[in-house]
Structures are given as structure tokens and as C-alpha cells.
């Protein structure tokens, strides 16, 4: 039986709160973060709803003590969440152990690149953003801000499973002894690039997203950053660390079906969930709650629902998608939902799947629609992305 990797710190900033505590309060009080878009001037502003972090770039820069227009919003969000995670883990000397950083992102510094795409050639005041386009830039900024030196840092981009894969890699690197401690998670800000990209795919809802509802109209894009600190048993023992929960299992598989769509039968999702259970050494009946990917696109919820029915042989435990609160925060989804899964374990609660009215015709799956108290030992969290990328994480109360 696989032994879990300890989680000792968490940080998050999203449309429903600027830290872990605020996010949790929103989740248990049905406070959603979906609104009309306010920070980006897009022609689609009347056709879409989004999950925006409420603070403006100026406010985030002030919080970090940066001068105006220093960084991409992705980096601003990333550093705020990563610092919260480090503080929460009580880490004072980041280089005291073999420490790594693994971050997931899809857009990187795209917000600035699209803003200054032509202006770069006219205004040298914008040039500090040129090298901010590449996805590794926000990761390096976190590493610098945290004071990491001569350390393993990397960036993963597998679309909407990026941060889930960062968590999985981090857990594997601790398990293999390559690292003693690792900060894992992801960051993605909203951008015209993603708004228009998803618009062309015709999977953006013009109203509040409704996961697993028969009449679902698509997703709301969101933005967020979330990081967790994973530490080896040796570090936990030596530092007498409080453990918030464990990464108990993980699985990544590919649907190998279509560039963007998931297969109707959910083969990749089935493989990922089974792999995670195998790594954890758990049977399906050990899973107490599923925090589903549940983006509310017609394709995802059908594929994921079918996969859950297949894996759990019809006996699917309580499940819900928290995307109705936060929107789909792309690369970050797996990290923000990891934080929510650990909070669920700590507080023994299942979050409601909001906006659900009509069961889907293809199966008789009913998401949990009310906040529910339940003794939880194991939570399963799914994240699926373009390129057929499917990742499942299992979080547990006990190692």
C-alpha cells in the first residue's frame, strides 16, 4: 500500500477569496465569484461571465511592493499564493532542505504579450515584459521571491491538468528521494487570448456555469493561483510539522482521442482514476468524496460522468464540481481543487455543486447540491485538459 506524501502548507487566491481562509468561507456559504468581466476590455464582455480575482493589478503590485506594470498578472497571483503556502508551512529558511518548485501554467505572461504585441516596437518602457511570455518566467519569479538558490525548479503545461500534474510530479520526487520538500501548484490569469480561444471553441457559457446539469451551456473562465507545500516524512519528523493532509495517490493518462475533446466513454479519465487508486493501494469504496473536474461543458461532464460510473461500477460516491464558485481556472484548477480537497478533509464537508437543476439524460448521476457534513478519509480530485491529458489525485487524512 502506497504511503502518502505530507502536505504542510497551502496558499490560494481566486475569485472567491484572497487566501485559504476566505476561499473556505465562500465555499461553505454559497458565495460564488462569477461576475461580468471588469479587468479586461473585451468585445465579449456582455456575452460571458468569468471568475475574476477582485484585486486590480495595481492592488496586487502594491501588496507585493512592486512598481506599476512590473509583471504579468500570472506572476502577481503566483507569488501571492506561493508566499501564503510557505508562511502556512512555517518555512523560514527555504534552502534548509533540498527544496524544489514545480508550477503549472497555460498562459504564462500572455496578458502582457497581447497588450504590448505591437507596442514593443514603439515603446522601450514595455520591454521588460518581452521575456515574460515564456511559461517558465512566472516560476522563476516565485523562486526568486522565495529566495530559492541552486534548486530544482520546473514548469508544466498540460492545459487544464497542469497544476494537478505539478502536484503529482512533486509527490513522485519526494517519494523517490530526489527532493525533501517541494512547492507545487499553478497560476493562470485571464487574458484575451484564452477568452477568444475558448470562444472559438464555443464552450463559454453566457451565464453562471451549471456542472453536470442536462442544460449546461459551457464553462466560465476563471483565474487563480494555488500552491501547496509537500514535505518528506523525515522533514515532517525533524521539524515537528503539522500535517494538513496527504497526497495519497496520483495517475496521469492520455485519452488519445482528440486534440481538445474528451472521448464520450472517458477512457483517459478511467485510466487516471484507476492508476491513482492503484498507487494509493485503495479500492473504490475507500473514496468518500469526488471533487470532479466538472467544467460544465457538454463534452467534459458527459465524459467524466461516464468515467466515474465505469470506475465506481455504478456506485459513485458523493461528488461535486466547485467550478460554479470559481470558474474554470485552467492550469490552476488541479491546485485550487487540491486545496479545497484538503479543506474538505480537515472540516469533514462536501461542497455543493451549485446551479444544478436537471439530471443528465445519459446516466443517473446526481451531484451533491447542498453543503454536507460527512466524515471524510479520502477525497478524489480530477483534472482533465486539452491534448487528452487526464490526471487524478487522491488526498487522504491519514498517511
Amino acid at each position: 500500500m502506497g504511503k502518502g506524501i505530507a502536505i504542510t502548507g497551502m496558499g490560494v487566491i481566486s475569485a472567491i477569496g484572497n487566501n485559504v481562509e476566505e476561499n473556505y468561507r465562500s465555499l461553505v456559504s454559497n458565495t460564488i465569484g462569477i461576475t461580468k468581466i471588469s479587468h479586461i476590455d473585451t468585445v465579449h464582455k456582455n456575452d460571458i461571465m468569468v471568475g475574476e480575482v477582485s484585486a486590480t493589478n495595481s492592488e496586487l503590485e502594491a501588496q507585493l511592493g512592486l512598481s506599476p506594470d512590473s509583471w504579468s498578472r500570472t506572476s502577481l497571483l503566483a507569488v501571492i499564493a506561493a508566499k501564503e503556502a510557505i508562511a502556512n508551512a512555517g518555512i523560514e529558511d527555504i534552502n534548509a532542505f533540498k527544496t524544489g518548485l514545480i508550477s503549472g501554467t497555460t498562459v504564462g505572461g500572455m496578458d502582457k504579450s497581447e497588450q504590448y504585441f505591437y507596442e514593443y516596437f514603439e515603446n522601450d518602457k514595455t520591454w521588460h515584459h518581452i521575456n515574460g511570455l515564456h511559461a517558465g518566467d512566472s516560476t522563476q519569479k516565485i523562486a526568486t521571491e522565495l529566495g530559492m538558490e541552486a534548486s530544482f525548479t520546473t514548469t508544466i503545461s498540460t492545459a487544464c491538468s497542469s497544476a494537478a500534474n505539478a502536484i503529482m510530479l512533486g509527490a513522485r520526487m519526494i517519494k523517490s528521494g530526489r527532493l525533501d520538500r517541494v512547492i507545487v501548484g499553478g497560476a493562470d490569469c485571464l487574458s484575451k487570448f484564452t477568452i477568444n480561444g475558448f470562444k472559438t471553441l464555443m464552450i463559454l457559457s453566457d451565464t453562471y456555469n451549471t456542472p453536470f446539469d442536462d442544460d449546461r451551456k459551457g464553462l466560465n473562465l476563471g483565474e487563480s493561483a494555488a500552491y501547496l507545500v509537500l514535505e518528506s516524512d523525515a522533514v515532517v519528523a525533524k521539524e515537528n510539522k503539522k500535517v494538513l493532509g496527504y497526497v495519497k495517490g496520483y495517475g496521469n493518462a492520455n485519452d488519445a482521442f482528440h486534440q481538445t475533446a474528451s472521448s464520450d466513454h472517458g477512457d483517459g479519465a478511467v485510466l487516471a482514476m484507476k492508476q491513482a487508486l492503484k498507487v494509493a493501494g485503495l479500492s473504490t469504496d475507500a473514496v468518500d468524496y469526488i471533487n470532479a473536474h466538472g467544467t460544465a461543458t457538454p463534452n467534459n461532464d458527459l465524459s467524466e460522468g461516464r468515467a466515474m460510473v465505469r470506475v465506481f461500477d455504478g456506485k459513485v460516491p458523493e461528488f461535486s464540481s466547485t467550478k460554479a464558485f470559481t470558474g474554470h481556472t485552467l492550469a490552476t484548477a488541479g491546485a485550487i481543487e487540491a486545496v479545497y480537497s484538503v479543506l474538505a478533509l480537515q472540516n469533514n464537508v462536501i461542497y455543493p455543486n451549485l446551479n444544478f437543476k436537471t439530471p443528465m439524460q445519459e446516466f443517473d448521476l446526481l451531484p451533491q447540491t447542498e453543503l454536507k457534513q460527512k466524515e471524510l478519509q479520502v477525497v478524489l480530485s480530477n483534472s482533465f485538459g486539452f491534448g487528452g491529458n487526464c490526471t487524478t489525485l487522491l488526498f487522504s487524512k491519514q498517511a
Binding site: T105, G136, A150, T154, K175, F193, N196, N252, G388
Partner: protein, 355 residues
Amino acid sequence: MTKRVYINSVGSVSAQKTFENDSFLDEITVHYDTTISVISPNYKDYIPPAAARRMAKGIKMSTVSSKTALDEAGLENVDAIIVGTGLGCIDDSEKFISAIIDNKEQFLTPTRFIQSSHNSVSGQIALGIGCKGYNYSYVHSAASFESCLIDAMMQIQLEEAKNILVGGVDELVAHHVDTHRLIDHIKKTPVESSKLLTSKTAGCVMAEGAHFFVLSEKKQASTYAELIGVRTYNTLSKEQLAQTVTEFLREHELNSDAIDLVVLGYNGDVNFDAYYDLLTQDMFLNTAQAYYKHLSGEYDTASGFGFWLASKVARTNTLPAAARLNQITTATPRTILLYNQYRGEYHSLVLLRQC
């Protein structure tokens, strides 16, 4: 006992004619420019023309290079696919951005957006060969390819996979070049390949390429070398470098005398090549030295070309004259060390051994 990791095949599309594995830099293409494109294979030999028309260049280069590697390893499928790319299919990203701006967010089509997803290469390869296994994409600038190697080594050593396709790919694209020339990351004046290191100008000669390899737990007739170790470092000061290399070698129970060939990522940037000088003029002064970015150009996954070069050297016992940095030769390059960094960041050390 930990499983050994073997490099069982290679595949390359680069600024040299490397797409066929039966030659090894037999004819060198001399470049005189600030940017260099790949010498393209005849894509029709590898990809149906209808499919190729819609494909991003990064996907095309990767299709050829990965197919070459799979064929040479004698595999139709693998347990995992791990791809590194600094910028993904950035031509599509840039065209999608300019379309958003120029058309005021109207009349857009999804193809460019889909291909601009950083994992479109790894996803496309999986789709092409029907691989439902582990599928990751690392996008960490000049440490993207090395991140793949670390992940793949870990999987084989932990017995999570037997055969893994790893690769690195990046495209050369106009807007990216033009903007990076503004900030002196790319040279402003052309330089001839053989004079790269004496140009004494800022920036690199930017290029593109795709390099794929099959890493396996079992040695076979096609095996090039054993992959002994890989490490990356987000920062390293010049003062730390020698000590870091020494510690890395010690982890593998080696010292600098055990290194028969050192392969360095010199890119001709007067501001950052000093890192390599620290090794070539001291610790490895009396060791055979090789460099390659005058042949491949610089890009985030150019170290894939270095890995390809080192693998070929290990297999053939030959270091092509064009890649030699000093006069010292070695008849049997048994242990090979690669060191790369980009602009003082993203340092990596990779260790190969003949087998």
C-alpha cells in the same frame, strides 16, 4: 538495485542535416546569420500531405524526429511521452494574438488556439500512435528538455515505465525574434558559425529544432549510451559552478578526471559564455571539449541537440571535427558530461556513459 536507463534511439531535425540516423555531421552547413531555420526533411515522406498542411511546424518537426526515434528503437508504442518546449507552437500563438488584435476579437477560428496549447506536440504524438500512457509537457525555458530527462529517469528507476519517448522542440518565429532582438537576446549582426565564440557580441543566434529519444530499462542493439544522471539548478553563481559540478560528479562516484568528454552549451553571447570558460579553462582544461550551438543555433531546447551529439559520440567513438572545442582527443569517450545554461539561469548537468 536501481534500474539502469538506456538511450536506445535518437531522432533529430535541426539546422544541420541530422534527420537521417545513418550519418553523423558528415557534411556541415555553415550559417552566416542571426537566426537559422532547420534543414527540413521531406515531410511528405513522414506525414500525409493533407494532415501536414494543417500542422504547426513544431508538430511536423516533432513527428519526423519522434518517428525516427521510435523506428530505430523498434517500437510502435511507448509507456509514456514526455516533451519539453520553451514556447510550444509559438507561430500559432503569435498568429492567434495578432488576429485577435487586428480583427478586434472577431472572425477567429480555433485551429491556431488549439495548436498553441503548450502540450499540443505531446498530445499529437499520443494521438498519432494511440498512446494512452503518461503524457507530460515541460515548459521551463532552457531546462525544459532536462526536466523531461529527470522525469523519465525517475519513471524507469521506479519501474513505472519500461520505454519512454522524450523530446524537446522549439520553433523559430518572426515576432519572437524581432522582440528578442530589441532586448539584445539575439545578435544584431550576423556571425559565421565557426566564429561564434569570437564574435564578442551580445545575444545568441536563434534557431529551432526537434530532438526525440527513446529511453528504456533494457539495453539493445540500437543502444547509444547509458543515462547516468541529470540535475537542473534555477540559479548558480560563477563562484558556485565548479563546486556544484564536483558535487554532481561525486553523487555518481566520479571525479573530474573520470570525464572523457565535456559538451558545453556555448552560444556566443559575450555576457554569459564566461560560465563555460570557468570549466574549460580549469577543471576540464586537459579534457576533450565539444560545443554545438554554432551548428544548431540557440533555442530553449537546443540542449536536445547537445544530448543527440553526445549520444552519437558515445555510440560511434567519434567526435566530428566541427564540434571540437580544443585539440585534445579521446579514443574512447566512455564518460561524457554535458553542461548548459541560458543567460545565467536554467543550468543543467547531464551525465552519459558508454555501454
